[in-house]
Symmetry: C3
Subunit: 136 residues, 3 copies
């Protein structure tokens, strides 16, 4: 069995945005030499998540606008700690913070339109995504 770990470092210019990371995950899997298995992609900071959805700019804005309605910027109790990012914690919960991508015949076994995105809700500082592959 092969088990490998790597990290993608993030520091987005915007406070909130989506970042396409499919190629980084694919490169990691190629280097790991796993031909059959699974790769975990998990946002390690609690104000960010991972989404597998369409590579389409209009939709990206739709997703971010919709999240502002579902989990809006507001006065949260969490802000008593000095933070102002309560909404970002909730947005991470809605989108979930991780995905598993199956690996078949040495490739990411994604559907025809599935692409992997890092969803940043409180950026402009150093963050990490963990990649963990297991297989043969």
């Amino acid at each position: 069995m092969i088990i490998k770990t790597d990290y993608i470092f993030m520091n987005t210019e915007k406070r909130k945005c989506l970042v396409h990371i499919t190629d980084k995950v694919r490169d990691f899997v190629k280097k790991s030499n796993v031909k059959e298995g699974m790769v975990l992609v998990s946002a390690m900071h609690i104000t960010a998540g991972i989404i597998v959805n369409d590579y389409e700019e209009g939709l990206w804005k739709d997703i971010m606008d919709w999240l502002e309605r579902v989990a809006p910027v507001s006065d949260y109790l969490h802000h008593n700690t000095g933070e102002d990012n309560g909404d970002a914690h909730l947005k991470r919960i809605v989108v979930h913070h991780q995905v598993i991508v199956p690996i078949t015949n040495g490739n990411l076994d994604l559907g025809p339109w599935e692409q992997i995105f890092y969803a940043e809700f409180d950026g402009q500082r150093k963050k990490r995504i963990v990649l963990k592959v297991m297989g043969e």
Copy 2:
């Protein structure tokens, strides 16, 4: 280690519905001969998801009605591409598009009421679910 892959093909009559797939996942695991491990169940199309919840028709309607409120049909920027399914992309994000089911003593290690459902939000055309099992 055993690693096996299969696909469930879907083409629902209704545009939006839940489809019970626990038996299909169970059959796949039995055939794989994995006695201890995990199976990934992941919707490969970006307008569908996977839910593990109750086998109860009233609840199924509750879930679909509630999703119309959380991620309603509306004018989305995504529709500038000619699509009209922006809400379906958002519904997939709310419910998440995949689950992992543990396998113990050769069986799906589900709770007493846990059943696996495919959640279609833009059907009436060919779609796929990937099943990937790893274990011994």
Copy 3:
């Protein structure tokens, strides 16, 4: 390959609450002797979920208050079965019912603020979480 299973039993005093379980997951992984791999943490009852977020009491209340807005107590069709917990089924869907934690160098490979919580939405009775670890 090592594959181990265990269950965390829950019976919360309150009907709705978050329970910190990071230490229980860590103990299970230590005992399993897995140094590299993944552990699945999955709520086996369909009115509970798992969240990886901040260890901060104000935020815990923010999360539970926000969930009452996103998936409120209401009249659901599910209640025709005699149940009154329709909202709890929906809350489980929003937060998702499971997470995978990577294991690196014998430790849970969590971000600096990531902690694991069991999210109970219809407690005051016996429930279970399944833990499944795979690795070497």
